[in-house]
Symmetry: D2
Subunit: 376 residues, 4 copies
């Protein structure tokens, strides 16, 4: 089997570029071969050398080389700050190059809608959105169990994402990660909401298959910060149920604590990424815990094909992210006409990207209007 060849846009400076490179590499079926890894040409070259890939000073040249047949690429991963996503993703899709894009998908709802239009118009050019947590096998299992009717009609979802690393004004002491995330010019209208709130949202909605009608929000920031670092939202789900979404980056003690509790009429499901290898199901009397890669009749074949190691040997963050690349890889291989490609799961894409942008816009507006309910 030939490895898929991946180009990367951005990712040279922050930690997440290397994370994607590892997620791409770990299955030994994909590899990063080229990259426009940084806006600064010198840095871009330096990083390309370190990574052992072909370096580009800008992503357009990389696409042009691919178009010209001088560079082999199967897809591109975009890991730039939020304000650059739309233009870059659009350029790739329109050129016919599949994309796995970091979230939030864009800077504005308008950009998101434009990208959606392009993606829908290019059916043979898969687009994936990097909602990493949806790659956890037990979140995927939760989604399947809900589809099977295991907990009945959903009444309430509590979804959360708490971190503590912005409890001080880290952006004023040279922390690059903090800098662009707290800068409206690079991140958009919401800081915490855009960075992690959208994860909490998509975790919940993708898992349940529900939509969101309207929100009432309370966003705050510590003195000296422009964008929200604490982001609390009540929402009305498409089925009339309640959404509670809590995200924070000033919650000292939480490192990367996201998860959800989904309450149905006949049972509930609980998952959290600090213990990503377990999924808890409650029927009101006992608790039944499902384990990653453990055999159970309720796991569909498509999910089984995502497991790498036997139960008890945890697959965690990198593997979850790798699963998103696996889904994209399978789609690409199938489109290329390869044989015996396992079926791809339906991970988040452009629809979830648009949803995330609308959600951010409504939440910011609601908070400004003192909690008024705003429709998406």
């Amino acid at each position: 089997m030939t490895k898929l060849k991946v180009g990367m846009i951005g990712g040279g400076g922050g930690f997440f570029g290397k994370v994607h490179q590892r997620a791409i590499s770990l299955d030994a079926t994909r590899e990063v071969v080229a990259g426009a890894l940084h806006q600064d040409p010198a840095l871009s070259a330096k990083f390309a050398d370190e990574w052992g890939v072909k370096g580009y000073t800008d992503y357009k040249t990389m696409i042009a080389d691919w178009k010209a047949g001088t560079l082999e690429l199967d897809y591109v991963t975009i890991v730039t700050p939020n304000f650059l996503h739309a233009e870059q993703a659009l350029a790739c899709i329109n050129a016919g190059l599949p994309v796995l894009c970091e979230k939030p998908m864009c800077y504005t709802v308008a950009e998101a809608e434009a990208l959606k239009k392009a993606v829908k118009a290019n059916k043979k050019v898969p687009f994936a959105l990097s909602h990493t947590y949806t790659g956890h096998p037990l979140m995927m299992l939760a989604r399947e169990l809900i589809k099977q009717g295991k907990i009945g009609t959903i009444r309430k979802i509590e979804t959360y994402y708490n971190q503590g690393w912005l409890a001080t004004l880290a952006e004023k002491t040279g922390n690059q990660q903090a800098s662009w995330r707290t800068d409206p010019k690079k991140s958009g209208i919401s800081g915490c909401g855009g960075d992690i709130g959208t994860h909490a949202l998509i975790n919940a909605l993708w898992t349940t298959g529900l939509g969101l009608k309207s929100v009432s929000a309370l966003l705050t920031a510590i003195p000296g910060r422009k964008l929200d670092d604490d982001f609390n939202v009540f929402g009305k789900l498409s089925n009339g149920g309640t959404l509670v979404l809590l995200a924070s980056q000033i919650a000292i003690g939480h490192k990367n604590d996201n998860g959800f509790r989904i309450y149905g009429e006949t049972g509930s499901l609980e998952w959290f990424q600090e213990n990503a290898e377990e999924l808890h199901y409650y029927d009101g009397t006992t608790r039944v815990t499902y384990f990653q890669n453990a055999p159970t009749g309720e796991v569909p074949d498509v999910l089984k094909s995502y497991g790498r190691i036997p139960s008890g040997h945890h697959e965690d963050f990198l593997e979850a992210l790798a699963n998103l690349h696996t889904t994209l890889e399978r789609k690409i291989r199938a489109i290329k006409g390869e044989k015996n490609v396992p079926p791809a799961y339906d991970h988040p894409g452009v629809d979830e990207g648009v949803l995330g942008m609308k959600f951010l816009k409504a939440a910011v507006e609601s908070s400004k209007k003192k909690g008024a309910w705003i429709k998406l």
Copy 2:
């Protein structure tokens, strides 16, 4: 040492009367000797016989007997449905009889204010409110650590109380506990909020010493129920911080799951009653866990005097409730002039009762007004 003698009003029908009797008895320094245990005279007599106490058909006669010197009583515990608390507590206090009253304290804010006035006017007649969870030694320790400045200025509190036992319309199938709790005539304006939301509120505010300025709420009920069974509130704390309070009785899988996370500028504290024997402190790098009754320099003497058994032998729900009785007992013994009475901790009383009533009123109003922020 002579045991304090306790009279009980209500408690014959529900499970909580026996719970109080056990909390009263377990230290072998207090005992229930009399009770108007039920409104129905026959049942009241039956329960009195079963409990081995002197039975009364109404509480006024019990108070009258005490006044007349034909019944020895040191204090009274009120375990009736909410709408009866105010009148009964007022009668006791005005008669000079100390009270430990179940929460929520009253049916309306006006009643609460009237009771407060009476309590403040009778300094020698202690009044205690049964916020059981504040009796957990590690919640008491959290309060002390916050006073000591351990986590700095508080920015956000998440406090919650989730149960699942009202996920069906249990009140329509003869469940007495469900019946009065879902009946506006007996419970007041809020179901879930009154029953457990006030616990979540007082847990948070009593522990932090903060007040509450205003709230924005989302209350819902499943079809066929009159009072809220899902109760979600954002609030502004007196110091400008954020309160998130989530309570539910339709959250299948949660039995009696309350707790909080308190985020300060320099650290955070986490406690939850499913693991009541531990208190977690986070400084951003490690987690330090304090254990019940374990020796540490940070535990004030007054708290040490509440411990019963060595660390590792958990004291739990009954013991926490017993601690509220212990606090009241110590106040009463001190007022009686007994010697060597250990100092009493300052558990919730009439002020917290008024706060709870105002909170419920504001939350209900906000939810009706689509999340508008309502001042307390």
Copy 3:
């Protein structure tokens, strides 16, 4: 209902006398009324005064008073150091007075056999052994599930009890609890084994209904201590299965950490007292967790009658101990001919006491003989 009247022998000096008093009191159906609480007459009087009970300078006089009808007693609780148990228990039983005795039951196997003979000869005089942890409802449920065949034939048991409070020579710095426990004259041939190893043993054997054929042991003590403080045993169960029993009092960080894992041919059960409200059942695929007092079809009625409060309100150490008193109380009330007495569960008694003594003897012998397998 009239309260049962309890006399106590010992318990004035250590913490465990008060623990028993609380366990006796908490149901408000029993009370300590008299006690020979200490060997020192002055201290005995002082403690009796503090406890509010009739004081005796020696237990024989207390029994004599009861015989003479000048003191009402329904049973006696023995909380003295180990070397006194046999004589005292024998005196009570022979006098016709039921006993709940602390463990280990005696000082020697010979004493244990003598006591067993007396107990068997006095069928109407119940004798209970204070194996507290067997009073935890979920250990009782584990026993019932095993009886029902839930995990098939048992192949292996791991049972443990770890503490850290004797990691230093506390007995040399005035710690009374440490003093008698590390003194062969008061404790017998084993320190850690006698104090907590027997708990681990009886937890395992009582729950599974299995016997023990032989043991191979490794006992150690830190320099300066006469009796073992670390006690490790391999054993052959009566059905040919393996027992691993680990007990330690130098395991810093463990406070009172006992529990077991029981492996059968078709499943396994896990319980530990740090989380006593849960029982875990594994079938090889998922984990099913049972909760205290939660309704499930697998809980026999006799167990349900031991629950005090709804699921989620944990009953813990004191309540488990109280359950042993409840069992004894029910037996006594039934023998007295009271009506509507709920059935008593079969908690450990004299047989488990003899077993514990034989086990200690064999373990000590094996360790001396360098791990040679010794038959019980």
Copy 4:
């Protein structure tokens, strides 16, 4: 940076070959380029094609090609059944090709000693043993804290490794993994001990830096199985302390449950791989929990260089295994004279391999001799 090129011996049939390939690939600094993946030539070719590597029908030809300069290799990973390790590793080392070898290192102690001799004689040819769990950053931190004296002299170690997948005779129903592991001809004198007991041993001894003097063991197997599937050992540590090692493959409910508790004179450390991202330190009063990749002054720089992603994004099994490859990679790059190679940590090698073989031999002998203490 150029990727290191890796050859693999074995691994085509079992799951662990792919696991190593992933661990090799995930950092994008190493890649498998060639392999003698199976003894069967047709299967070897098939697997090579699937993996996208150059296939060999036997490992000797692969080494010969490398010697001849027709194949570039930096090191070899050996993933064959135990009885083949010694010959293969010896051939590589003697040819000058570095090796990462699966454990247990050999089939007999004699083989192990011979391999040790060769490794010691070829200082420039690094040899690593695949004790995966020692690659967990928090086990590495435990080792550093012990070196720093954090818990004082070690008195007792409890180390364990429990699985349940051999609770039935899986080897008789076509399970390949079960087949060779339960076959004395392929696995050696011990089944469970060799497969997982040696992990538990090396986890403990490598972390503490202690040796092992002698053991007393109890090994059993279910009817119909030739090699032990339950493996329990008491040991004397080189400093006089106690080792308790428990391993089982019939412990239903355990998937891959290994960990340890290390008790010193002044504190203790606890780690277990089901929660590999936390290390617990106990001082007798509180518990302090260290988190993976979280900043703390106690983490030496060499460990920091092993972290991939920020705290809260768990690195788990594959990453731990990758860390062993990273250590080997760093050694190889340093020997090659590359610049800026971070320092390599000292993961297990040939000494631990010899220790493991001696341990197995002594344990098997002790169990045969009814628990007699056998010197290593």
